[in-house]
């Protein structure tokens, strides 16, 4: 009798876990260096979506999850819950960070120049041309550190860019409070910075074709390393506690009438994430543009301009977990569904 089949779960779970670990056993042979540098975009994506800047832990998470990046990001998020909140670091300005790559699609030449840096943009994606090289794969810094302002800075300095009102005294912390509408911009931006790359991409894409009115131009896209400061608990002075690799993107939209004085100015969106993930930063800047400057719209079909749509649907840890929960038993609810279904059938027959 199969009644007992739903019991004995403990042993089944134990064996299933062991089976899973055995299947991925060869991942133990991948060196930490190979993971951190050779698979850096995987690790960076995991750091961003896992909302924890740790190259070491991200590499370990990629290993443990067998390269399932959503799963790896989940490891970092769960680890995060065991860490105490220490406080707020001073604002990190991506326009003063040390540059590895900086491009602008808005101007042919910009202050500081176009710096291609390492990029796969112009790689011909043919597998047969792939060559293995034994060279070390860490990216060296430029001989001289490069610092350049955002390529849109001169427009901002000339007061030609819409400056959004900032009524927030300190940034909202979505890990300590659940944001309620109207959503503070910092809460929306944080949600996106931790958001799943594919989800942000899909929503941003809706606004580029068919369901939005965003015509973005990438003003400044950069891969950079920024120093991170923190207030020393005893001396009260600001000390550098480390460096952070980041991707930042400023995207220009259409000009609009500035609500403050009625003059026409350029709308700009901003995207940011841990590590190197250009697709995510660009998508986020487009979504910021769509939400912060939602004057032109295609009405209710403008999905990406609705913070309610974005804030609840871009978190990979939440959406992956919930989608997978449908694997759990639903015997009771389905049984209840069937009963109502049969009643409806009887109701139809009785007519």
């Amino acid at each position: 009798m199969s009644y007992v089949a739903i019991k004995g779960g403990a042993e089944a779970i134990r064996r299933s876990k062991r089976f899973f670990q055995e299947e991925l056993a060869s991942a133990a042979g991948i060196s930490e260096d190979a993971l951190q540098h050779g698979l850096r975009f995987a690790c960076d994506r995991v750091m961003g979506e896992g909302a924890l800047y740790s190259e070491k832990l991200a590499a370990e998470a990629v290993r443990r999850s067998g390269g399932d990046l959503l799963e790896a990001a989940f490891y970092l998020r769960a680890h995060r819950s065991t860490c105490q909140r220490v406080g707020e670091a001073p604002i990190l300005d991506s326009s003063t960070a040390r540059i590895l790559r900086r491009i602008s699609a808005a101007f042919k030449d910009v202050e500081g120049g176009q710096i291609l840096g390492p990029s796969c943009d112009y790689v011909i994606r043919l597998l047969k041309t792939m060559r293995r090289s034994g060279a070390q794969n860490a990216w060296p810094d430029a001989a001289q550190p490069i610092f350049v302002p955002s390529a849109l800075n001169f427009l901002r300095e000339a007061n030609r860019v819409i400056r959004l009102d900032n009524t927030e005294k300190s940034p909202f912390d979505i890990t300590r409070f659940s944001p309620l509408p109207p959503y503070p911009r910092s809460a929306v931006m944080q949600t996106m910075a931790r958001g799943e790359t594919g989800s942000l991409l899909a929503f941003a894409y809706t606004s580029m074709r068919g369901y939005g009115d965003v015509h973005p131009t990438i003003g400044d896209l950069r891969l950079a390393t920024a120093p991170l400061y923190f207030t020393h608990p005893f001396t009260g002075k600001q000390v550098q506690i480390g460096e952070m690799r980041l991707t930042a993107c400023e995207t220009a939209g259409s000009f609009q009438r500035d609500r403050r004085d009625g003059k026409v100015r350029l709308s700009v969106g901003y995207g940011f994430c841990f590590g190197y993930n250009e697709t995510k930063a660009i998508a986020m800047s487009i979504l910021d543009l769509a939400m912060s400057h939602a004057t032109f719209s295609v009405g209710k079909h403008n999905l990406a301009a609705n913070p309610e749509m974005i804030i609840h649907h871009v978190d990979g840890i939440a959406s992956m977990g919930f989608t997978n929960h449908f694997k759990l038993p639903h015997y009771v609810t389905f049984q209840a569904d069937l009963q109502v279904f049969r009643q409806a059938e009887q109701h139809d027959q009785a007519k």
């Binding site: 819950s81 065991t82 659940s178 509408p181 309610e308 977990g321 038993p329 009771v332 609810t333 109701h347």
Partner: protein, 284 residues
């Protein structure tokens, strides 16, 4: 199970527990009202009971006895997993006995045994907001609750009833709590709704992914939304009884096997109790 010394009691740090307890107090003070909370990421996935888990871990003490069920069953895989995790981070004793548990975490069922004073039942909730099916906008939902405006929900119930003879909401049927807030009782069958009304136990609801907590305090009126001329219909199993213990007045699992359809108790502890009682009766 003994808790390893490097693990915090209850896994969560004290700040997180404090925040959740404050949300719980507010929820108890406003029966049926949805309280937002930060909701930490847990080592089990979102949608797998992280809300219920956080509530349980915030209220549990060394003196508690824990029961965890899924679909009414203590042995169901996710129930086992959650129970193992809670006891590994608290060291509290586990039980399958509904009457001996001080905290019962559940998914999709309310036990058949009547809950008593001092017991707390914690529900894992996928969709805390009852208005989601008729109004997705958070701000407007809040306004509708404040104004006791459930017109859209009534219209949905009416449309279903006129087309299909009854609401299509089979589980998680909307209930009015204390004659005010209408809430989603989590996906329990309609069969279990009556157990919420004027219950002696404290009912706590945690939605981890949606970051919401709500509650039904003991001895609170809970009534399903129904039309005056349409009696509330719960799941029925006419002519069927549990093939294991013979019970008729319980929620049954329908099991399809090679030799046809079979029925068994969904609440496995209740089924065991009936069998044991009968066994003792025979022995005497």
């Amino acid at each position: 199970m003994i808790r390893p010394s490097e693990v915090l009691f209850g896994f969560l740090d004290e700040d997180a527990k404090k925040e959740i307890r404050r949300a719980l107090l507010k929820a108890v003070a406003l029966p049926g009202y949805i309280v937002p909370f930060a909701s930490r990421e847990m080592p089990i996935a979102r949608g797998w009971g992280t809300g219920g888990l956080q509530v349980s871990l915030s209220i549990i003490t060394e003196k508690d006895t824990l029961k965890v069920i899924d679909q009414g069953c203590d042995g169901s895989v996710n129930a086992v997993n959650i129970r193992d995790f809670i006891s590994s981070v608290t060291g509290v004793p586990e039980t399958e006995d509904t009457t001996k548990a001080s905290i019962i975490q559940t998914r999709h069922r309310v036990p058949e045994h009547q809950l008593t004073e001092g017991q707390i039942i914690v529900y894992q909730v996928p969709y805390p907001e009852v208005l989601d099916s008729v109004e997705p906008d958070t701000a407007r939902q809040k306004e509708m609750h404040a104004n006791n405006d459930y017109a859209k929900l009534w219209v949905l119930l009416y449309e279903d009833t006129s087309q299909f003879g009854d609401s299509r909401m089979a589980s998680g049927y909307p209930v009015a709590v204390n004659d005010h807030y209408v809430m989603d009782p989590s996906p329990i069958p309609k069969f279990d709704i009556a157990k919420l009304n004027n219950s002696q136990a404290l009912h706590l609801f945690g939605a981890g992914r949606e970051k919401r907590i709500y509650a039904i305090p003991p001895y609170t009126k809970v009534a399903p939304l129904t039309f005056n001329d349409r009696p509330f219909q719960v799941e029925q199993f006419p002519g069927k009884a549990c093939e294991r213990c013979g019970c008729r007045d319980v929620f049954l699992d329908e099991v399809h096997l090679d030799d046809g359809v079979h029925y068994f108790c969904s609440d496995t502890f209740h089924c065991d109790t009936v069998l044991n009682t009968r066994g003792e009766g025979h022995a005497a």
